[in-house]
Symmetry: C2
Subunit: 280 residues, 2 copies
């Protein structure tokens, strides 16, 4: 048996068609949606991610404003820069590319984003909305994963979902979203004992730690739904990918699984933010 | 083997000694801490809880202002009332007794509480702070449970903790707090399948649903740490209590376990809020 593919490229493409249509309505009204991207420092991977997002914006008719800041910038200066974008009426959405350099207080920088422009879903307000099931922008990767599962009509209610990883913008909100859909949810992480046994009982696995092939194929329950949200150099995910295809019922590839969904969510939320601002 | 007792009465008493000392410092400076309690309707259990909290306030030197509102009050009127307390410089902390009557938008009422006065830890801001490990007030029952476990030096790191229940002010933040202490955390709830098997693997169980004796003694792993956060008429908890004493390694009684800890947390956070306001 070979697992079926959770094809993020195909699903993202459908989402972006709708985004493109909505962006053109706004453009025709003279209110083209506009995303500000903020990049601190010159990490190659981060630069690549920002470039991909900016390119994708232009393909769907979202304007972007790139703000590239020196790696040595201080937290107060970064916060002031983001506050200025929050106050700028010409900006609909703000993306602070993370991780930021270690000397910066990332949480302070995130909180400088106006929740109405938090299209990447990183503020406390957005996190609480996700966790408590209130309206708000979603953290793009977990939100995109849920959309991917929904596109393939994967049932979640009453199923045991295991999230490996507990980062504030991925693992933690991912579990909250799955719990909101009535899955039984287990969070595993670096201190977890017996990861193999826990994964062996999981109906749904989301691997989100960034350690290549941490999740071994032999640990998976046959037929499980496996989402690989990791990405490491050399197109390696958090799941032992070729082997997992023989065990999982559904599997998201790397690349072409979660990545495109994350970007699609970002652009969709940017258009939503722009529509709200235009209507307000 | 009989389980050891997680004695909430004794631990709360120690906490309240400190609270009393700190309240008297504030009182001597002419800034007695003051808690506003808001009760909507005349549910007997809710009235009892408010009375207990008010009595305990007076024992430790916290002044209280009781606001009892008609069950028929509308959401906007309740919100306006709470906003007035948020703005009132004479009030340090605000407790909205829950549940409120079904026609009221409880989330809107909670959000009317200034986070600086949210000594019951019910706002989105407090929830996000708990979940993300940032400073902030804690939801009193999960915060109190963590304090109770700490008082008995129960290790949490790497242990499998199962939280039964996912309410916004108890189960959900409880799991986040345990995750913050490096436990592997599973959330179970009404849609969970195989609850008995999941509980059978748990090192730590927090039962928080309000269904009498939902958690059967025979499901527990021998030696497990069991916290019974339920309370139903007739002093019945969520755990099959007499029988569980023969299986669990540690068990919180009902009454005398979680209840006193919840109140102690409320009063401690009220004094903290008052100290911050006095210092500011």
């Amino acid at each position: 048996m070979t697992s079926q593919v959770l094809d993020g490229v195909a699903v993202a493409k459908e989402i972006l068609k709708g985004v493109s249509r909505r962006a053109s309505v706004l453009r025709d009204a003279g209110r083209a949606p506009r995303l500000a991207t903020v990049l601190v420092g010159d990490d190659d991977a981060s630069k690549t991610y920002v470039r991909m997002k900016v390119n994708r914006c232009s393909e769907v008719g979202i304007e972007s404003v790139r703000i590239d800041l020196d790696a040595e910038i201080s937290t107060p200066v970064l916060v002031a820069q983001i506050e200025a974008l929050s106050a700028d009426p010409a900006i609909d959405g703000i993306l602070l590319q993370h991780p930021v350099p270690g000397h910066i207080d990332e949480r302070a920088a995130f909180e400088a984003i106006d929740p109405a422009k938090d299209v990447d879903g990183v503020t406390r307000t957005s996190f609480a909305a996700m966790a408590l099931g209130n309206p708000g922008f979603q953290s793009c990767t977990p939100g995109g994963i849920l959309r991917l599962l929904d596109a393939y009509e994967i049932p979640l209610e009453g199923r045991h979902a295991v999230v490996v990883g507990r980062s504030h913008i991925l693992g933690l909100p991912m579990g909250m979203l799955l719990l909101g859909r009535d899955a039984t949810v287990t969070y595993c992480h670096s201190r977890t004992r017996g990861l193999a046994e826990i994964l062996g009982r999981a109906d749904v696995v989301v691997a989100a730690v960034g350690t290549p092939e941490l999740v071994r194929a032999r640990w998976l329950k046959p037929g499980a739904v496996v989402v690989d949200a990791g990405y490491s150099a050399g197109d390696r995910g958090d799941v032992e990918q070729p082997a997992a295809r023989e065990v999982a019922g559904w599997l998201s590839p790397v690349p072409g699984g979660v990545g495109p969904m994350t970007i699609a969510m970002l652009l969709e939320q940017t258009v939503t933010a722009a529509e709200r601002r235009a209507g307000g």
